[in-house]
Symmetry: C2
Subunit: 343 residues, 2 copies
């Protein structure tokens, strides 16, 4: 069923039917009702493509998901983020189109989305420091919003980020207050912006307590369970091992725990652990009492909000870029305790 057929069926012109359906005022209430009802019974909905062609809007948002070509790894937070964003799009009648792409050919993808006029805007995932995509998108004149930020790029642009620096500074402070002095950091991949900011927060806290970051206690890599495990195992095997570990992902934290327990230690007693928790739906941090003390911020909420911001920017192109900084909450669980006394 298309507009033409529907309007013939009703004995009206396409114009009138279109107007009735799109809420224009030049249609009598009676006619509008009649049209709406017919649309429903014939199960008519306008072709997105035709509508897009006619209006010049795509009614779609692109998400470009980079897959690190080295690790072939899909960021585990991606599913939840998308779920949040998807809700928002659905509510606003937008479609979400996804491009999975190895980070080498990202540029081409953005250019393609733009020149094919496939989307009204894009969401940028996993920004790195000095991420070139931001300048690219700005030069392409394609509306965009970034999940995270790119340190080193100082033109204004739309982003939404967790206050990673503050979160990790507070977490480190917390461990300090418990008496820990040897605090390890198991962080995300070098170059990722969030990892950079978390390390800054961590370092700032250490400095404030007259400690200095010890390179031996800082690791970064793709945040898998195995990564958390191997890092922790190695560090615990050395002289002067850490009494606490600060970890960038709940998944890695599971590996941290494995290493601790394998060594015969008890988490929260011999070694304390704090992790960031993205509140992923399939990885809750325990039940009522969190297993891990964590800095927590829902990535699903982030998706919802960022989508909202992008849609607003598209609807109102003259608006200056919005930004939003979310604070993570520190949830105390049973993975932390006072530093063991040195005997």
């Amino acid at each position: 069923m298309n507009l033409k057929e529907l309007s013939q069926n009703l004995g009206l012109s396409q114009t009138t039917v279109s107007r009735a359906l799109n809420g224009y005022p030049e249609v009598s209430p009676a006619t509008r009702r009649r049209v709406e009802e017919a649309a429903r019974t014939f199960n008519y909905s306008p072709s997105t493509r035709a509508k897009g062609l006619a209006t010049g809007k795509a009614l779609a948002i692109g998400h470009v998901i980079p897959i690190s070509s080295k690790h072939e790894m899909v960021n585990p937070i991606f599913g939840d983020f998308i779920a949040g964003a998807g809700e928002t799009y659905a509510r606003h009648g937008y479609e979400m189109i996804l491009s999975i792409v190895d980070d080498a050919s990202e540029r081409r993808i953005y250019e393609g989305l733009k020149s094919r006029r496939a989307v009204d805007g894009v969401v940028v995932h996993g920004p790195r420091m000095d991420d070139p995509r931001i300048a690219l998108l700005q030069s392409l004149d394609l509306p965009f919003a970034v999940h995270g930020r790119a340190s080193g790029y100082d033109q204004p642009y739309a982003w939404l980020d967790v206050n990673n620096r503050r979160a990790f500074e507070r977490a480190t402070d917390f461990l300090f207050d418990l008496g820990h002095r040897r605090i390890a950091l198991i962080n995300g991949l070098e170059g990722m912006d969030f990892a950079h900011r978390r390390r800054e927060g961590y370092a700032a806290s250490l400095m404030a307590h007259d400690g200095a970051p010890d390179p031996d206690l800082m690791r970064s890599g793709e945040m898998t369970e195995v990564f958390g495990y191997t890092c922790t195992r190695d560090m615990l095997a050395r002289d002067n091992p850490p009494t606490a570990v600060l970890c960038s992902s709940l998944i890695s934290a599971l590996g941290v725990r494995r290493a601790i327990e394998e060594k015969g230690y008890v988490m929260g007693k011999d070694v304390s652990v704090v992790t960031h928790d993205d509140a992923l739906s399939y990885l809750q941090n325990g039940g009522d009492v969190p297993i891990f003390t964590a800095t927590r911020s829902s990535v699903r909420d982030a998706g919802q909000q960022l989508a909202e911001m992008l849609l607003a920017a598209i609807a109102n192109p003259l608006m200056p870029p919005q930004t939003r900084l979310l604070e993570a909450e520190l949830m105390v669980g049973s993975s932390t305790g006072p530093a063991p006394r040195k005997d």
Copy 2:
């Protein structure tokens, strides 16, 4: 830059330019080369919408991701599956459009995708037993392919599935051969087709060994870490506890391990664990030696293959529905060992 401008620029008609770009034979090689070059320098690519309108194809595949409205949970395998499928689409010039939707309104979504002519086909995720979506899609005449199967629906349709029954039968056999007699099953949500088949395989093996499935040892639910933990903890606390656990997801298996170790047991010695492993990129099962003995099948490969199948079906609508059954490989890790002797 659009076709009209490009063709004016070249002093050719739109027809010729279009034909040159789309590889039709009625264009001289010299002209074709000239056109291709111009397209490249002007960074021209045709508008998907216009092309779609003109050809009647959407050049897009829809993925409808159900979110269980009860649990608000995004299936963790989703990211990797999508990554696999996305590769295939990119190679074939297709776009992937995603709808996140609570399972109540799925029907409307499929109807919408169809009537808006937004996609050429859809991938069905997370089929349940007697899943009504299959009949719906068949009646809508919208090409589709299912990741998994729906027991109870016996018309032919396109699907790709892991041989869940066989995998779990073999896994159970394996545990039996190690001397285990009390084998627990921690399975996915009741009603999910894969969970049903896995339980069948499990039960079949027990029956073949003159055992009978003990309801006390069978759990099903959303496969989170916490779920694996609580199930295992409870079962280990009872009389006549299991000496082995068969688990449907690596994430839950992490919880199983936690419960085992919390109790002071050693995995692979006091309690053996076998899990299904979807080979998720962020959750490798250990390094060279798998941590968990596992039935393994890459969900990313599955995505790639299923996308391939769907595209083939769309290209050739008369072809009978393809199906593909993947065998999981049993990888022996260090989480299994001979059943402890009863003292």
